[in-house]
C-alpha cells in the first residue's frame, strides 16, 4: 500500500481497514464469550462438551477460512491445512459428543482416528509456512529444534509412553494408540519450534498462532497426563485446548495473517539471543534434572533413554558450536572483504574499474562456481530463484545492475552484503561524477581565466595602440598649428606653406575623427546600442563615393583603386552610414597594406538576391592560422606589424555586416595579397515591403 492514487481510494482503504478490525473484534468477542460460557457451564458437562466445545471449534476453523478468503495469502495451503487439522479434531469431537450423549467412552474409538489425523495435517501446514518464510539459511534453527525435540521425546518417554507401556490393563493396540498422541505432539512441537526459531514471528497474527499452538500442545499434554495418571486435570486440559483453538482462529482472521507464508527477515535474535541460550542450557540440563527428580521420587527412570538423549543433545550442541564458529568466521571474512572493497573503491577511478571491483568482491562472497557481474542497466533483469539483482543508482539514475547467479540459499546468505556492495558502488560512482564535474568546472574556469588574461593583455595593447594612434594626428595638428599661429620662432611662412600646413592639419583632424568614430562604434557594439537606420541604399554610388574619398591618400602612396561592377545591384534597404564605414575600413586597410605601384581592386557582383562586395589588395598577406582570429577585436595579424592600426576596423566591419544579416569572409596568401568578401542580401529589408517593391520595380 505504498502509493495511494486518490483520496477516494484512500478512504476506501480506510473503510476496508476499519471493516477488517471490526470483524476481527466481533469474532474475538464471540469466541471470548464462548470461552467464558464453557467455563460457566462447568457443572453441565453434556451441554459444555456436546454443544459449546464443537461450536467454538467450528467458529475458530471458519474464522481461519474467512481470513484466507478475505486476505488471500500467497500460499493459502498453509492456513487451510492448519484450519483443516483443527477441523479434523472437530470431527473427532463431534463423534465423541455422540458417545457422551450415549454416556459411553470407548477406547480406542473412531474419534481417535480423527484426533490423531489432525497432527500431521497441522504439521504439514506449518512445514509449508517454514518453507515459505524461507529462513532455512540457518542450521541453528534445526539444531536447536532438534535439541528441544530430544528433551521433549525424553519427557514423553518417561512420563507418557513408559507408564502406558507398563500399564498391564491396556491391550497392545490400546498402548499404540495411547503412545501415538504424544508422538503427534512431539512432531508438532518440533515444527513449531523450528518455525519460531527460524524466522521473525513478531507479527500479531503469527504471535497469536504461536500462542494458540503452544496452548493446544500444552492442553493436549495436560489432557494426556490426566488420562495417564487418571488425575483431575481433565477439565483444565480441555479448557486450555479450547483456548489454543480460539487463538489459532483469531490469528487466521487477523489482517496480518498473510505474513505466515511471506518471506521473513532474519530471526530477531539471529540464534544467539540470551533467552535462546538460556532455553538451550535448560534443554541440555533437562535429562539430568529428570534423572535427579525421578531418583528422588524413588522411581527408576529409563537410564538408556536419559543417556541416549544426553548423547544426542551433546552431539547437537557440538555441531551447533561448530556452525556458530563457521558462521562467525564467514562473517569476519565478509566484513574484511567489504571493508577492503570500500578502501579499494576510494583508490580506484573510472566506471569500468569500479564495476570490476564490485563484481570481484561480490564473487568472492559467493560459493565456487557462482558468478557475479556488474552490467549496464539496459537489459531487463531476469527473475529467477538463482539470480539476484541489485540496482546501482546514481543521482536517481539507474546506471547498472549487480547481478549474482547462485543457489537461493547462498543468495539469501549474501544478499545484504550484495546490497552493501551495490550501494558503495553507487557512492563511488557518484564521487566519480562529482570529481569529473569539478575537473570540468576547473578546466572551464582556467580556460575562462586564460581568456580573461588574454583579453586583459589585448586591452592593454589596445590602450597603448589607441594612445599612439590618437597622438599621431595630434602631433601633426599641434606641431603645424604652432608654426601657423606665430607663437613659434620658426619665422615667416609663405602663403603656399600656410595653405599646405592647413591641409595637413585638416587631414589629421579627419583621421582623428575617424579614429574616435571607430572607438565610439566599438563602445556602442559593446553596450548593445548598435542599431541600424535603414534607408534605400544604392551600393554602386556608395562604393564610388567611398573610393573617391580615400583616393587622395592612396595616390600619395602611389596605390590605384579600381572599381569593377560585375552586375549592378538594385537599391536595397540598409544603413548607408554603416555600410560606408564598412567600405572605409576595408578600403583603408587595403590601401595601407598594398605596396606602392600596386592596385586595390573593388568588385561588386550580384548573384541571385545576394550582392557580393570584394576588396582585394596585393599586400603582404595574412598567415592561414591567423585568419579565423582576424575579425576578433584588437587582433592584429603578425604581418600587420609594419602598419599602424587599432585592430578595431575588421571587428567593426564584421559587426556591421552581421547587423545587416550578411557574412564577411577573407582569403589570403602570403606575399600575394588578401581579399575580403562581403555578402549582403539585397532584399534584406523586412521592415518595409512596400518600399522594397519600389526597389524591385526600379530594377
Amino acid at each position: 500500500m505504498a502509493v495511494v492514487p486518490s483520496s477516494s481510494a484512500r478512504e476506501g482503504v480506510r473503510a476496508a481497514h476499519g471493516g477488517n478490525t471490526r470483524l476481527w473484534w466481533a469474532v474475538v468477542g464471540f469466541l471470548a464469550a464462548m470461552w467464558v460460557l464453557y467455563g460457566l457451564l462447568w457443572p453441565n458437562q453434556d451441554i459444555r462438551n456436546v454443544i459449546v466445545y464443537p461450536v467454538t471449534e467450528a467458529c475458530a476453523v471458519a474464522a481461519v477460512v474467512v481470513g484466507v478468503l478475505r486476505y488471500r495469502p500467497s500460499a493459502p495451503a498453509a492456513w487451510l491445512l492448519i484450519a483443516g487439522g483443527f477441523a479434523t479434531y472437530l470431527v473427532g469431537d463431534l463423534i465423541w459428543a455422540v458417545y457422551l450423549v450415549q454416556d459411553r467412552s470407548p477406547f480406542p474409538s473412531p474419534a481417535d482416528v480423527f484426533y490423531l489425523a489432525g497432527y500431521p495435517v497441522i504439521v504439514a501446514g506449518l512445514a509449508i509456512a517454514v518453507r515459505r518464510r524461507g529462513a532455512a539459511v540457518d542450521a541453528r534453527a534445526w539444531l536447536d529444534s532438534g535439541m528441544i525435540a530430544v528433551v521433549a521425546a525424553l519427557l514423553v518417554w518417561v512420563y507418557l509412553a513408559q507408564p502406558t507401556i507398563d500399564d498391564p490393563s491396556l491391550s497392545t493396540f490400546e498402548k499404540w494408540v495411547s503412545i501415538a498422541y504424544p508422538v503427534g505432539d512431539l512432531l508438532l512441537l518440533v515444527v513449531a519450534a523450528r518455525f519460531v526459531m527460524g524466522s521473525n514471528w513478531r507479527v500479531r497474527s503469527l504471535e497469536l498462532l504461536v500462542l494458540g499452538l503452544a496452548l493446544t500442545l500444552g492442553g493436549d499434554v495436560l489432557f494426556q497426563l490426566s488420562v495417564a495418571d487418571r488425575a483431575g486435570a481433565f477439565f483444565t486440559g480441555d479448557w486450555m485446548l479450547l483456548t489454543g483453538v480460539i487463538f489459532v482462529g483469531i490469528a487466521g482472521l487477523h489482517e496480518t495473517m498473510p505474513a505466515l507464508t511471506e518471506e521473513s527477515s532474519e530471526p530477531l535474535d539471529e540464534g544467539s539471543g540470551t533467552l535462546r541460550i538460556v532455553l538451550l542450557a535448560g534443554v541440555c540440563l533437562a535429562p539430568l534434572a529428570i534423572l535427579g527428580i525421578e531418583h528422588a521420587r524413588g522411581n527408576s527412570p529409563s537410564i538408556v533413554g536419559i543417556v541416549a538423549s544426553v548423547m544426542v543433545i551433546a552431539l547437537l550442541a557440538v555441531v551447533r558450536a561448530d556452525v556458530v564458529a563457521r558462521r562467525a568466521l564467514r562473517d569476519a571474512r565478509r566484513e574484511s572483504a567489504l571493508s577492503a572493497y570500500a578502501g579499494e573503491l576510494l583508490r580506484s577511478a573510472g566506471d569500468a574499474e569500479l564495476f570490476g571491483l564490485a563484481a570481484g568482491t561480490a564473487s568472492a562472497l559467493l560459493d565456487d562456481g557462482d558468478t557475479a557481474i556488474v552490467r549496464a542497466s539496459a537489459t531487463e533483469p531476469e527473475a529467477s530463484a538463482h539470480t539476484f539483482t541489485v540496482p546501482v543508482v546514481v543521482r536517481g539514475e539507474h546506471v547498472a545492475d549487480l547481478v549474482a547467479h547462485a543457489s537461493p540459499l547462498t543468495i539469501r546468505r549474501v544478499r545484504t552484503s550484495l546490497a552493501t556492495i551495490a550501494s558503495e558502488l553507487s557512492m563511488a560512482l557518484e564521487r566519480e561524477r562529482l570529481l569529473e564535474a569539478e575537473r570540468e568546472a576547473s578546466a572551464v574556469l582556467s580556460e575562462q581565466n586564460e581568456r580573461l588574461l588574454e583579453l586583459d593583455r589585448m586591452k592593454d595593447q589596445f590602450v597603448g595602440t589607441v594612445t599612439h594612434e590618437l597622438r599621431t594626428p595630434l602631433t601633426s595638428m599641434i606641431g603645424y598649428l604652432e608654426m601657423l599661429t606665430g607663437e613659434s620662432d620658426v619665422g615667416e611662412l609663405s602663403a603656399e606653406e600656410q595653405q599646405h600646413f592647413l591641409e595637413i592639419v585638416d587631414r589629421n583632424c579627419q583621421r582623428l575623427n575617424r579614429l574616435v568614430d571607430d572607438i565610439l562604434t566599438v563602445a556602442r557594439i559593446d553596450s548593445g546600442r548598435f542599431s541600424l537606420e535603414r534607408t534605400s541604399v544604392d551600393l554602386v554610388s556608395l562604393a564610388s563615393e567611398r573610393i573617391e574619398s580615400i583616393r587622395a591618400a592612396a595616390e600619395q602612396k602611389e596605390v590605384d583603386i579600381r572599381l569593377t561592377i560585375d552586375q549592378e545591384p538594385p537599391p536595397f534597404y540598409a544603413d548607408a552610414m554603416r555600410l560606408g564605414q564598412l567600405l572605409d575600413n576595408l578600403l583603408s586597410n587595403a590601401v595601407k597594406f598594398t605596396p606602392a605601384g600596386s592596385v586595390v581592386r573593388v568588385t561588386l557582383a550580384l548573384r541571385g538576391d545576394m550582392v557580393r562586395v570584394e576588396v582585394a589588395d596585393s599586400g603582404v598577406g595574412i598567415p592561414k592560422d591567423e585568419l579565423d582570429k582576424l575579425f576578433d577585436r584588437f587582433f592584429r595579424a603578425s604581418t600587420a606589424a609594419a602598419v599602424q592600426g587599432t585592430g578595431l576596423g575588421l571587428s567593426i566591419a564584421k559587426s556591421i555586416v552581421e547587423a545587416h544579416g550578411g557574412a564577411i569572409s577573407v582569403e589570403s596568401e602570403i606575399g600575394v595579397g588578401t581579399t575580403f568578401s562581403v555578402d549582403l542580401r539585397v532584399d534584406a529589408s523586412q521592415e518595409d515591403p512596400a518600399e522594397l517593391g519600389t526597389a524591385e520595380a526600379a530594377r
Binding site: 597622438r471 601633426s476 595638428m477 604652432e482 599602424q644
Partner: protein, 131 residues
C-alpha cells in the same frame, strides 16, 4: 665622424618617422633653423642612411615599421662609426618604462608626442652646441 661633420657647412640631421606629416614637420622645422635633414620612413632606411651619411644627430620615432626606434638606437650604438652619434627619440608611448627603455638603448634625449617643434629645435641645438 668629426672629420665628416666638421667638413659640412651645416649640421646634418637624420629624421625617421613612419608618419609622413610628422616627418615633414620635423624636417621643415629643423631646415628652417639651418640644419640639413635626411628623412627615413622606417627603421631599416634610417640605419642605411645613418651608415652611409654619418649624420651629426638622429631624431628617431620609436614605433616604426620593420625596425623600431629602440632597436635602431641599439644598432647605431653597436656600430663603431655611429656609436657616438647623439640620438633623440620621439614617441607617442609615454609610460615611464618606455622612457627608461629608450635611455637603456642609448638615447641621449627623449621627446613625447605631441611635441612642440620649437622644443625639438631647441634640444637639437643644445646637443649639437655642446660639441
Amino acid at each position: 665622424m668629426s672629420g665628416a661633420a666638421s667638413a659640412r657647412e651645416q649640421p646634418l640631421v637624420l629624421a625617421a618617422d613612419d608618419d609622413e606629416d610628422i616627418l615633414d614637420l620635423v624636417a621643415f622645422r629643423l631646415e628652417r633653423s639651418g640644419y640639413t635633414v635626411l628623412v627615413a620612413r622606417d627603421g631599416e632606411e634610417a640605419l642605411k642612411l645613418a651608415a652611409k651619411e654619418l649624420p651629426d644627430l638622429a631624431v628617431l620615432d620609436v614605433m616604426m615599421p620593420k625596425v623600431d626606434g629602440f632597436e635602431v638606437t641599439r644598432r647605431l650604438r653597436a656600430d663603431e662609426a655611429t656609436s657616438r652619434m647623439p640620438i633623440i627619440l620621439l614617441t607617442a608611448r609615454s609610460q615611464d618604462a618606455d622612457v627608461q627603455q629608450g635611455f637603456d638603448a642609448g638615447a641621449d634625449d627623449y621627446l613625447r608626442k605631441p611635441f612642440s617643434p620649437d622644443e625639438l629645435r631647441a634640444r637639437v641645438q643644445a646637443i649639437l652646441g655642446r660639441r
